[in-house]
């Protein structure tokens, strides 16, 4: 029985080993599906169809069951995020203190909707129900760093800064002298 699980993912993608490790830790129990999906989301950043099929086969679960659980919970996403990601909290305290204005400003300036990624793949904007830092509302998270008492202008400035930094690193098209 354990033999069949020992085969690594044919693509040779190293990230699958992290998913394998979680499955092994829970002895390939079907009940551990949520834990496995959590690891997969963390490692890959999103759940591709290929990944869901792999998990279903390894745990010997019907794909519909895996897909059903994955789509039920908000933390699982099915499309890759941008290079940089901003989360704006839309909890009650942040709502009262003007989170909507921040979202509106970023959306207009970056020409995206919440949950979308810019065309160049550099930036995406998502929202969270509550980040639990209500004392510092409105709260945002920019590339994993929590920022309190945010304003639309301040947020936009920081977003532009991190995007500009990435652009500096990337090779620039040559300009005529």
């Amino acid at each position: 029985m354990t033999q069949s699980h020992a085969i690594a993912h044919p693509s040779g993608d190293e990230r699958y080993t992290a998913v394998d490790r979680t499955m092994k830790r829970f002895r390939y129990e079907k009940d551990a599906l949520l834990e496995v999906l959590n690891t997969a989301q963390e490692t890959f950043g999103y759940l591709s169809q290929d990944l869901l099929i792999y998990i279903a086969e390894q745990l010997k679960l019907p794909l519909i069951r895996v897909y059903g659980v994955a789509t039920f919970y908000h933390m699982f996403t099915f499309e890759p995020l941008g290079e940089h990601n901003a989360i704006v909290c839309t909890g009650t305290a942040c709502h009262v203190k003007g989170a909507d204005a921040i979202i509106e400003r970023i959306c207009t300036e970056m020409s995206i909707e919440t949950g979308q990624t810019t065309e160049d793949g550099l930036f995406s904007l998502t929202t969270a129900r509550c980040l639990g830092s209500c004392g510092l509302a409105p709260v945002t998270v920019l590339d994993g760093k929590v920022r309190g008492k945010e304003t639309p202008d301040g947020m936009l400035r920081h977003v532009r800064e991190i995007i500009a930094r990435t652009k500096d690193v990337l090779p620039q098209p040559e300009r005529a002298p």
């Binding site: 949520l34 908000h74 933390m75 509550c130 209500c134 004392g135 510092l136 509302a137």
Partner: protein, 564 residues
């Protein structure tokens, strides 16, 4: 490991702490970190290492939440034979001054970059005095700390620190001197009620599970704090993880559970990490695992990570989620106490409920029953947020009035605005208007006012918020979070939102308002679980107290429809 060994460790840690002339505590909880506490810690550390005039040995402790989140990063200085000092808005510059004044025996130089907040300008204080937060303020003096008694005073990553503050004494006492029945009775007599919101007597629940005859029982801690505007459970798990564990182990002993789960929101990575570390450390000391503290009792808890679903706070949905399924509630009975996780008898308690248990065992049921109001005993932790001068985390005795919280502890509403309502209980709760500011805060009273205690979110709104908009915000949340199992909630919430939209757009008639109210009542009475039953609360409570705001929207419409 023997129980006495724990006492030795505690003793050793206490001696270690006493050798320091000064102990400097810096809050590194999520709120303070987002205000720049990481920079503050670095600055404190560097300044303390490069002191010129050494004022005796000193230690820097990274602690959890100190409460006054709106003034973060917070730093507290404790010196021998001196009253503790608390400083707010501590930037790297202020941190250097604190070290210079308290630890190096010198006067602090004037800050080079003074803060530009109004309360500093108005204070007319000089130097470091400007950043001092008075511990005599009602924000601190009105609090009674049970759940948060060690939060902000200990290093949450250190088991020794918890032991030095009397940690795991309750567990040792329970295992050595009490039968499971006595533990259940003690909790029952204390009057402790579930802090997750519903307020079910905890001791009664434990007794039900204890009396079940089953080979395998489970104890679950509900840390799926999905209410927007609430972060009490996160704080307790992050800043005092061993307290939660201790409560859980005592609970498991009382009901006869040998396995357990801590179900924590995936949005709380630090809480997950700290609880996991606490479990590892407790296991190493023989507090968790086989034959706990050399007794016959064995218990193994595990962490399960929630993946973002508000409905998973409902106990049957949570059980499904732990089983790796979609988090959908089911009809009760059978209650989890009879048939829960994998059909075994299961006790489920909120994080804050569990955190109360060690103190009740240590101080006795009578002590706990002496705090609070007649039917609601003990304290409640509230996350105070919204349009208020002082926001943060407070633990107050049940029965305190909203006025005391808002005007004395919170210092009132800023920016020249006036208080409009206090929203409790998140999307399942309601708004309490100014005329009810003097009613005591406990389970019964809040229900009577059309709101609920909920898990402890308390958001203050001022007169700039329009109530129909606010109600729509919550309904929108419920539409998103409805699991879709039962029709009243799945369809009803969408219909309520549609009606509110029509109203906000100024296209509704009196008939729409009537049918909105009827619809709310239907959803309230016919939904399967707590989410649906309470989803209309925000609309109904604002309709009760702020009906004129809804009617104003109608008046504009009446003219419009006549023209057609």
């Amino acid at each position: 490991m023997k129980s006495e060994k724990l006492e030795q460790i505690a003793q050793k840690e206490r001696q270690r702490q006493q050798q320091f002339q000064h102990r400097v505590f810096c809050c590194t909880s999520t709120a303070c970190l987002s205000a720049g506490a990481d920079v503050t810690v670095d600055a404190l550390d560097r300044a303390m290492h490069s002191r010129q005039n050494d004022d005796g040995p000193a230690e820097l402790v990274k602690t959890g939440c100190m409460g006054l989140c709106s003034r973060g990063p917070l730093v507290r200085v404790e010196a021998k034979a001196e009253t503790p000092m608390l400083y707010g808005d501590v930037t790297a510059d202020v941190a250097k001054q604190i070290v210079a004044q308290h630890l190096a025996g010198g006067d602090a130089a004037e800050s080079t970059t003074p803060h530009d907040f109004p309360h500093y300008r108005a204070g007319r204080k000089k130097g470091l005095e400007r950043y001092r937060v008075s511990l005599d303020h009602p924000f601190f003096t009105k609090q009674v700390k049970i759940v948060l008694s060690e939060t902000g005073k200990i290093d949450p990553e250190k088991l020794e620190d918890y032991l030095a503050h009397g940690g795991y004494q309750a567990l040792r006492h329970v295992l050595a001197k009490m039968t499971p029945e006595q533990v259940c009775d003690e909790i029952l007599n204390s009057g402790l009620r579930g802090r997750g919101g519903a307020g079910f007597p905890t001791g009664f629940k434990w007794n039900l599970v204890r009396l079940e005859n089953a080979e395998q029982k489970f104890a679950i801690v509900n840390g799926d704090e999905g209410d927007p505007g609430a972060y009490m459970d996160r704080t307790v798990m992050e800043d005092d993880p061993h307290r939660v564990l201790e409560g859980m182990i005592i609970c498991a002993y009382a009901v006869g559970a040998s396995r357990g789960y801590l179900y924590i929101r995936g949005e709380y990575p630090i809480a997950i990490q700290r609880i996991n570390r606490a479990i590892t450390k407790a296991r190493r000391r023989g507090i968790i695992g086989k034959n706990i503290l050399d007794t016959d009792f064995s218990f193994v808890p595990e962490v399960r990570i929630g993946a973002g679903a508000f409905v998973c706070g409902e106990e049957t949905a949570l059980i499904h989620s732990v089983e790796g399924q979609r988090g959908i509630p089911r009809i009760r009975p059978p209650y989890p106490s009879e048939s829960g996780l994998w059909d075994a008898p299961t006790v489920i308690n909120n994080v804050e409920t569990m955190a109360n248990v060690p103190s009740i065992i240590n101080n006795g049921a009578d002590w706990f029953a002496g705090i609070g109001s007649e039917k609601s005993k003990g304290t409640k932790v509230f996350a105070l947020a919204g349009q208020l001068r002082n926001t943060g985390l407070i633990e107050v005795p049940m029965g305190i009035t909203l006025r005391e919280i808002v005007y004395e502890m919170g210092d009132g509403v800023p920016n020249g605005r006036t208080f409009k309502a206090a929203q409790t209980g998140g999307p399942s709760g309601g708004c309490i208007p100014a005329e009810h500011l003097d009613s005591p805060v406990d389970y019964e009273n809040l229900t009577k006012l059309g709101s609920i205690m909920g898990s402890g979110g308390l958001v203050i709104i001022d007169d700039s918020t329009r109530m129909p908009d606010f109600a729509r915000f919550f309904i929108d949340f419920c539409v998103d979070e409805s699991c879709g199992k039962c029709l009243p909630c799945r369809v009803g919430t969408v219909q309520i939102r549609g009606k509110l939209d029509k109203m906000i757009a100024g296209k509704a008639t009196q008939a729409d308002l009537d049918s909105l109210e009827r619809l709310c009542r239907t959803v309230q009475t016919t939904s399967l679980c707590g989410l649906g039953k309470s989803a209309p609360n925000p609309v109904l409570s604002t309709l009760t107290y702020f009906r004129h705001e809804y009617e104003q929207l109608l008046a504009a419409d009446a003219l419009g429809s006549n023209e057609k």
